[in-house]
Symmetry: C2
Subunit: 284 residues, 2 copies
């Protein structure tokens, strides 16, 4: 029977400029030696820390446009400034206004939750490197006080560098996927921001089903499935498990996550058009 | 170090009316005895088969409204009829028109892929039991020719019945999550349609991060993370692994997936309003 193992690695807290590859290599060598075919899933935040992608908030020069957008969204103007520098802004979700009831229901510490909501009343929907994400992947959490972390400059390239360096140090053939938690409807889930050594989306569209009929499907988002499964071990806050090794997966070689920015923009426009036609036909 | 095992079960093809619980109990007893705390993730399709949630397409009476919507969306009118009977229709995504290039790039068998695209030119976005899904979860794949499968009448209740029956037969404490593949941007991924014995969404909002700051997050969609990880073993088409046992997860007890239909509708409206204000402020 097919079986996968998701093994969490406690590599300790990663500080700006730390040697991430060295820490993963040492931790695995001691307790869980890497093997050919392993997929190493890493939270994007620790890659940003290792790459020193940190911004000192006090030193950000805020443009007038960023001030106006901060005013309407409630997001810190210094963060807004960097969101526009790092991405194309598509829209804004009023997270606090939509989810306050739900969020408070799920809060272990209501006071801390109120503070967290007031600190992030809305999120900008952004297209960064052809991938949809909120706030261009920038945030203040798990970073030293007064600092924001940016995504790695090129997450696919970052994944490739880590894969090659880990392969060199361990003498194994690996894949690397970077994970970042994203708002997805009424909660959050880890999705892939970059990958190397593995095909991000399965290429089996048009295969036949159990009854021999051609089937929609077979475009499984493998990289996202790996990050989502790994998130069961990452936790979200103070757990110190930023790396998960997935063993036993049969996968195809590949580089990078396909650019879907254009697809999503085109898709949104066409979806709104078809929905308008549909709603008209419901009531004719 | 924390570790999870995802173990796929080949329980053979499930035909309408088959004893699904018996098949899972026998297959695990032979090769992988269930243990306390195991999460049994099951593709919703085989639950529908066991519950005989099948419709003979030739016997469907199609309303005029369904004919009109079929005309504008290209979806089989008999399927449209059942989508409206089973759910509230929110909108329509022209899947074929948006994704044809991408889909053909990923096709192993271009002819079968063309046929599959022409069979599903668009998908309706629906709210069924307070959960967003496409086409109310109805489809023709992995079903006998000329038949459509509907989702279980109440997926949370279906999950609960399976959990209790499996617990009785095996003398263990379990959780059960039902999985169905959904279009998610430029590919598909398995999300949870129902669950029992496990809290679907983590309740750690407002916890502090590594640096002691309150953190947005801690609303991990645990049930979706389990189904996404399991999809790495399900495959999408003719693999006969409709059940995955996840072992090693530390989870909280709970019943059902929170109703997010109202949240999503309210969220969409408020998001469009805030986006309009944002776009105005960008250019003032």
């Amino acid at each position: 029977m097919p079986e996968l193992t998701f093994h969490g690695l406690d590599i300790g807290t990663v500080e700006p400029g730390d040697d991430l590859v060295g820490r993963i290599a040492e931790t695995t060598a001691e307790g869980y030696p890497l093997e050919d075919g392993d997929v190493v899933v890493i939270t994007t935040k620790v890659v940003s820390m290792a790459e020193e992608r940190l911004v000192d908030a006090d030193e950000v020069e805020v443009s007038e446009k960023a001030e106006r957008v901060a005013d309407v969204t409630g997001i810190d103007p210094r963060e807004v400034e960097y969101i526009y520098r790092e991405s194309d802004v598509i829209g804004a979700i009023p997270v606090g206004a939509i989810g306050e009831d739900v969020i408070m229901d799920h809060a272990v510490d209501p006071e801390a939750a109120e503070e967290a909501i007031s600190a992030l009343p809305s999120a900008l929907v952004t297209d960064r490197n052809g991938r949809l994400c909120t706030n261009a992947g920038i945030d203040w959490s798990n970073a030293p006080e007064g600092q924001m972390t940016l995504l790695p400059a090129d997450p696919d390239e970052g994944a490739r560098r880590i894969r090659e360096a880990l392969e060199d140090r361990t003498g194994t053939d690996l894949a690397v996927v970077l994970a970042d938690s994203e708002i997805l409807g009424p909660g959050s889930m880890d999705l892939a921001t970059g990958c190397s050594g593995i095909q991000a989306v399965d290429s089996n569209f048009g295969r036949t089903d159990l009854y021999g009929q051609p089937k929609i499907g077979g475009m499984d988002m493998i990289a996202n499935e790996l990050t989502a499964g790994s998130a069961l071990l990452f936790g979200q806050a103070d757990e110190r498990i930023p790396v998960v090794v997935v063993r036993g997966l049969d996968y195809e070689d590949g580089e990078g996550i396909p650019n879907s920015g254009g697809l999503i923009r085109r898709g949104l426009r066409k979806t709104i058009q078809l929905t308008a036609r549909l709603k008209a036909r419901e009531w004719i």
